[in-house]
Amino acid sequence: MATPIPSRRSLGRTTRTRISKGVFYILLLSGSVAMLIPLVWLIRSSFMGLSQIFIFPPEWLPDPWRWDNYPKALTTIPFVRYFFNTLYILIPTVIGTVITAALAAYGFSRLRWPGRDLVFGILLTTLMLPYAVTLIPTFLLWANLGLVNTYWPLILPDWFGGSIFYIFLLRQFFLTLPRELDEAAIIDGANPLQVLRFVIVPLSRPALITVAIFSTLFEWNDFLGPLIYLNDSRQFTLALGLAEFTGLYTSQWHLLMAAATVVIAPVLVLFFFAQRYFIEGIALTGTKG
């Protein structure tokens, strides 16, 4: 027997790593199942008839597939209207957030002025401020302006830098760009706004897209804001509409699940196409910086 015998130690090691790898995969797979199963249940319920939904023990596959749950759910409550209301708030909000957050991030990262880092530090503390404290005075402010039941309270604040979270994220990104670019443009006679527009913005597309996506997601999911500021059901957003639906049709689980699926579907699509931005954006905020 001339074949070299692998030493016991290395053999032990490879089997051990193989076993631990296997354990890792098993854990990951079971975790994935646990994460996905509620969504599977959601979709399965949305395609069932009411009689099948109330069978015990439950069945996993709809039989027959009730596609008409969807049109039924979407017409019981004016979902199309709510959808456009949501967009009506979302689009100006996201545009305002991206523009003013980029401006602020630029002013906090690439232009030098006295007291800059102190001001940024003060703004950063609002990350830790409970929203509950500002909720009531802000509401009273809008109420005194007579603007409750309009979209102004939901749109206008986002034209003032959006959230410090976005400014922070963009600032982190801007800091990674070489300064020589700005200086070259300045020497060529550009003013700082032009530097932002023609040098920084084109180089920061991923970060700007990330901010746009986060703020889209936030506006789409926002519940408390519309709940407080919108009382007229004709102005409702999708989130409010779904809550209203839940209150009205408590036991119509098939229709409720169809409606919930419709509210979730757009963000799922957005997530699948823009996943990279989510992951990198989140990771960026958590890094020591």
Partner: protein, 312 residues
């Protein structure tokens, strides 16, 4: 935690004096660029904070003029308001259950994903997915999952010999049920942990291997100390977020049964927007603010003992 790095690249040579006009222009532009954000801070953060303090000392209802009543709201809250004590207790219970469990789970998943796993992007997507589901939609979904008769959870547990659990419909089980639900949404936390883990230098692990250390040693002496800043970051943000949970109890339980899921912000909301007691609700908000601040300061204080900053 988020120390601001100084971003000025070191400038080797002194700039000629004549550039100072440029510097002044640059400063002007800088102030101009941040002006909307600073104005927003004054209008929607600082202003309301100061306003809130004033409102808390009045009996402001939505209609009519506010009367100054001093600390009467606070006196009532602390001496007469049973629901205040209840909601503070419920919120503490919920937060102390939810925050550590979510952190543990998010950390464990991040460690698993950091193991040079094949198909990492797929797993990462799956674990992140629940976090993008709108809270209102996930609340509706979880009401259905928690349904004692036809919900998913009992459908899984009953064949395993469990009794018919009441979940959000029982006053003892509602908070554990909501904690369980909160474990579904750990995506961002996990991603932040993962980023922290990926920042741990490989040489450190190799050093442990050379010294004959096992995976436990690596975890205990390298991984955990190196990601303590990330743990601190996640801990603070999730305490602040969890203490202010609102949508789930509002949609799923309306605080019930028997007020056992009357989370603090839901109680505050009811006072402000159902009973329009703006002054009273502002006082409640200030108390929550102080509680959260104390918790955060406590965590920061202890953090010097357990957070390891590289290069210090």
């Amino acid at each position: 935690m988020t120390a601001i790095p100084s971003q000025e690249p070191p400038r080797g040579r002194k700039r000629p004096r004549r550039l100072s006009r440029h510097r002044r222009r640059e400063a002007m532009w800088g102030v101009l660029c941040v002006a909307p954000a600073v104005l927003g801070f004054l209008l929607w953060q600082l202003g309301p904070i100061l306003g809130s303090f004033y409102i808390a000392l009045t009996d402001w209802r939505i209609a009519g003029t506010p009367n100054w009543i001093g600390f009467e709201n606070f006196r009532q809250i602390f001496t007469e308001d049973r629901l205040f004590r209840k909601s503070l207790g419920v919120t503490t219970y919920y937060s102390f259950g939810s925050v550590p469990l979510r952190m543990l789970l998010a950390f464990a998943l991040a460690v698993l994903l950091n193991q040079k796993i094949r198909a990492l992007p797929i797993f990462r997507t799956i674990f992140y997915l629940p976090s993008i589901v709108p809270l209102i939609a996930s609340s509706v979904l979880w009401i259905w999952l928690f349904n004692p008769d036809f919900g998913l959870l009992n459908a899984i547990l009953r064949p395993l010999g469990f009794p018919k659990l009441q979940w959000i419909y029982g006053s003892d089980s509602v908070i554990p049920a909501l904690i369980l639900m909160s474990l579904w949404d750990i995506g961002p936390m996990m991603i932040i942990f993962l980023a922290g883990l990926q920042g741990v230098p490989r040489q450190l692990y190799e050093a442990v291997e050379i010294d004959g250390g096992n995976p436990w040693h690596k975890m205990r002496h390298i991984t955990i100390p190196m990601v303590t800043p990330t743990i601190l970051f996640n801990l603070i943000l999730s305490i602040i977020g969890t203490m202010q949970t609102f949508v789930q109890p509002y949609v799923m339980t309306e605080g019930g049964p028997n007020n056992s899921s009357l989370l603090y912000v839901l109680y505050l909301y009811n006072k402000a927007f159902e009973q329009s007691q703006m002054g009273y609700a502002s006082a409640l908000a200030w108390i929550l603010f102080v509680v959260i601040a104390i918790l955060s300061i406590f965590v920061f204080r202890t953090s010097s003992r357990w957070v390891y900053y590289e290069g210090r």
